[in-house]
Amino acid sequence: MLLPPTDSKIVARRAEIVAALKEIVPDGVVADPSGLATFDTDALSAYHQMPLVCVLPSNREQVSAILKYAGAEGVPIVPRGAGTSLSGGALPREDGILIGMGRMKRILEIDYENGCVVVEPGVTNLNITKAVEANGFYYAPDPSSQVACTIGGNVAENSGGLHCLKYGLTTNNLLGVTMVLPGGEIVTLGGKSGAQGGLDLLGLVTGSEGLLGVVVEVVVKILRKAPVTRTLLASFDSVPAAGACVAAIIADGVVPAAMEFMDRPAAEAIESYNQPGYPPGAEAILIIDADGVEADVSHAVSRVIDIVAKCGGQTVEATDEKQRARIWSGRKAAFAAMGKLAPDMICMDGSIPRHALPSVLEEMAKLSQKHGLGFCNVFHAGDGNLHPLIIFDTMKPGEFERAEAFGADILRLCVKVGGVLSGEHGVGIEKRDLMTEQFTESDLEQQHRVKCAFDGQGLFNPGKVFPTLSACVEQGHIHVHGAQLPHPHLPRF
């Protein structure tokens, strides 16, 4: 992985840049090495880089002044929320200002009449729900890191979660953002009416991975919490039977709130880790949530039980909240459980058409043999988002390189069957050099021209998302050593 070369002229001007930023944010400039070390990576922790300087603005005027200064002086900018990106979106640059949005964390307005909340970007995903749950509402997108990740980061990455199939990604749950453009101009895209009176720049900016500007305010939709949620555990003798069952459930018209798939290695690892009570011996397991008003949920649950039986599977329903929580706690601990099997692992994130699941799993087994490494699969089956976990030992010579090659082969496979490189983690630096597998040169040039429409100087998050022709090393992914994920307390995937 190569980033654009460091501009040593900027590095040489460090003292002057730090002083200028202190003029703008007197109480929010981090320039000492121990302070900066806190910011030298995100959740893609195989990569570390100290920023030139880190600035922590408290309001939009400061953000605007910082970007105006950076534009005038030609200094790169890397935006950062909570630093939970799994694709290296917030990896700093030696010659760049890291702009941390964590201090802008006020909830500005809760508007139940219009079903929305106005927040600053540093508010965590979960704190939005916490602010409205007493009144029976919640914010739908629920990335597993929701206790820590910020809404600004969610907008940048278009974050997903377990419930995307029914409730959409971040982009489907926004009404507006206010952002500071490169150069310091402040624009508002949408608002409580959701209307923009021009091109849908709100849609473009969402998921743009910090390449187009810095978001300083967000209007999110909130939803009424479903009165009833029920959870089913379905087990199957074969992966194709489980795959066929997923397709049959969708074709029947049921839209589960969540539908998660685990293969046998994943289920066994989890069972031995925290004993959620998964049926022994099953080749594939599905966890299915149905939510809504009582009769809707009863209808969905009875349809699912019928369909599972027809597909040769067996269903168990969680009898109470405690059992529901246990079933889900297993799924959410998949990453930690796999960490017990080997010292290191990397997690991939591709999306595939669901019908390709059996063939993709078969092909992955062959790749596993080719690379001589074990793996298991957890899968957001409802929307086709695959998270293969590759296990290896970095102390054994060549295994890390083989793991990365295996991972890249899996993503190529996803693209080959009609899927994509990333379903929810973003491209960042991790998948940047694989972009040419999915997109043609003209596809990427078109995207790049859009980037240039916002950031003609190329100062925003340089080296992320778009491949540079000279770089050909494919590496990255989430690297975990000794089962220690960065932010080890966060559930993942």
């Binding site: 508007d111 009449e113 079903g115 990455e157 278009n158 997903g160 199939l165 959409g168 990604l169 982009t171 453009l181 624009v187 608002g191 409580k192 009416s193 209307a195 009176g197 021009g198 091109l199 849908d200 720049l201 849609g203 998921g207 743009s208 009424r224 919490k225 969708i250 074709a251 029947d252 049921v254 809504g292 008003v293 009582e294 009769a295 809707d296 009863s298 209808h299 999306s351 595939i352 058409p353 019908h355 957001h380 086709g384 009609g418 899927g419 994509v420 990333s422 379903g423 929810e424 491209v427 972009m435 043609t440 596809d443 040039e445 078109q446 995207q447 859009v450 240039c452 429409a453 916002f454």
Partner: protein
Amino acid sequence: MSKADSPAQVVEFVRAARAGKAPFEIVAGGTRRNVGAPLGDLPLLDVSGLSGILKYEPEELIVTAQPATPLAEIAAVLAEKNQRLGFDPADWSKLLKSNGVATLAGAASCDASGSGRLRHGGPRDSLLGFEAVNGLGESFRGGSKVVKNVTGFDLPKLMCGAYGTLSVLTEMTFRVYPKPQYAAILCLADVTVEDGFAALRRIARSALEPAGLAYLPARMMADVGQGAALIKLEGAREPLEQKIALAHGLLGQAMHRIEEDIFPTIGNGEKFADLTGDVWRVMIAPSDAPRVAKDLNVSHWLGDWAGGLIWLAAAPSEAARIRKIAADAKGQAMLLRASAESRALHGLYAPQPPSLAALNRAVKAAFDPLSLFNPGRL
């Protein structure tokens, strides 16, 4: 007029236009040509031949079609598998007195969402991927053909509501949803504007997942006293009955069921088809609807999207006043039907703040640097 029946022919046409620096108008079904600033007497590129469903995978919840596929054709094919498009496309042909055929690309390009926008959003929320030809005469793709994707910029969002000013679409992939078995329309009759919208908002923020929430004043609907709050609910038989009971419980008022589904008529603007004057769509925060309706003070109007959208008809001389009311409410007043003079004068939307306008122009130029496609329409 030139006709392009394949993506290759579109490329050829655009390259020629580029070489001659000759802007043109893109026409598929032709029903929405008179929306937005008039284009004058430009050459036409007729893409109506780019029609037909290319791949429909009900189990994957996606359909890929050529852009000029008629909305009616898509709806019929999806209905065979008990599904429907992710967005509720509006057909404005009756309102605009057009004999054309409303198409997929036309609805998406004009962000034409009916009442069902409440449930699953607009075209932007269901267009997953596309192929198109940009102003350089190059074919390119945006998005993908899977339901969950965050790889690269979300260009499909930009295509929706761009009125054909960014690219010539040649293929589109949409998310589809199961079509509920049954629907019921409940009518809360003889309610004031304030009470009617308040009732709709109460349903909007419930867990009933309504498919339509509209208020029609007396002049827009017969036999409803002061006005009617209309609620559309959907589901399988028993769940639907339960939702109806819950809705009654929430509002604590007697409602009667209406047999005819009036919502397509509302979404398509048909209530205004035979009225004189300009027709506007004003998008606002739903809770502002009663106040905005009062300020507008026009005889013919109605509110959809629980108040988030006000339809109205007004004399052409009212344009500036309507735009001001929308702006004061931090909303947008879209001039949907008007004379060419009026549309040239007032544009589709109010002018944007300078920095936002500049950004819109820069993004347009990133796709179409010579401004060949529908110049000035948006």
